[in-house]
Amino acid sequence: MSGVILAVDDSASMRQMVRFTLEGAGYKVIQANDGVEALELAKTSGADLVLTDVNMPRMDGLTLVRELRALDSYKYVPMLVLTTESGQDTKMRGKQAGATGWIVKPFNPEQLLATIARVLQ
């Protein structure tokens, strides 16, 4: 597998878990602590996929998705939301913001990789 994945989560341990999983499969992982940091990072280092949490300080994940979708370079980039939230309302807001899919934590490493491979096709 190849490609650059931008992983966004305010929890350092979650970022570690995502990094282990994705790097083990051959992806390059760049990380951000919140939406603001992710937006800056996304502009300077083109990511092939964005994997973001929802609740974060400064800028939440759904706002990040919306902001990225407004950029020409991220119009068609897959964006997956990885969160503990599973309510239909929030999912719907994610879909409307432009998210490609919704993954509820805790993720299973194999399933996460299969999902990423699928949306990157």
Binding site: S13, K95, G101, V104, P109, T115
Partner: protein
């Protein structure tokens, strides 16, 4: 105890000039919150150390895997197969550990919500005008409802609040779930 709760109880203490049930309640809630904050802080440190150790384990396992691939063909045929099997077994265990670590993260988040609930309630009970108003209680309940966003939190909130409404009490047994199976979250593509 959060700064806002401390301020509130201090304020209540100054105005009440002595014992009031509201102040006692706020103090008790503040105590619960402080105990929880301290426990979470200590656990975070322990889990951070565990994650560091896990990171080393992952790196070592990957190095062994890479070294195995570099072995001369004749050695790889004999020793390499066994090594690969061992590395594969470790990888499976690591996948389970990745799921388990995420449960801790979720636990921290849920306890954070409980702490917030306690400090909100501590502020609330300091104001007698609020505590005697059913509307204000409903408002408080709605604030807390919005706070609980995971499946588990919502289920517990619903069970407890419906239990209170229907029977006046809720038993722990009613909230017990099958904890044997480790469940991972759902995936939905839009």
């Amino acid at each position: 105890m959060s700064a806002s709760t401390a301020e509130s109880t201090k304020g209540a203490s100054a105005t009440a000039a002595g014992f009031t049930p509201e102040l006692q309640m706020a103090n008790m809630l503040g105590l619960c919150e402080a105990q929880m904050e301290s426990a979470i802080h200590d656990s975070d440190k322990a889990v951070d150390a565990l994650i560091q150790a896990f990171t080393c384990l992952v790196d070592t396992s990957r190095s062994v895997n890479a070294l195995t691939a570099q072995l001369p063909a004749e050695i790889r045929e004999t020793v390499g197969v066994g090594l690969n099997q061992q590395v594969e077994a470790i990888s499976k265990q690591m996948a389970s550990a990745v799921v388990a670590f995420q449960f801790y993260d979720k636990l921290s988040q849920r306890l954070g919500h409980v702490r917030y609930s306690l400090s909100t309630l501590a502020l609330f009970v300091c104001d007698r005008a609020q505590t005697t108003s059913p509307d204000q209680w409903r408002r408080l309940l709605n604030t807390l409802r919005r706070l609980y966003r995971t499946d588990e939190e919502r289920q517990i909130f619903q069970s407890v609040m419906e239990g209170i409404a229907e029977e006046g009490t809720v038993t722990i047994a009613a909230l017990k779930k099958d904890t044997d199976a480790v469940q991972v979250g759902e995936i939905e593509l839009f």
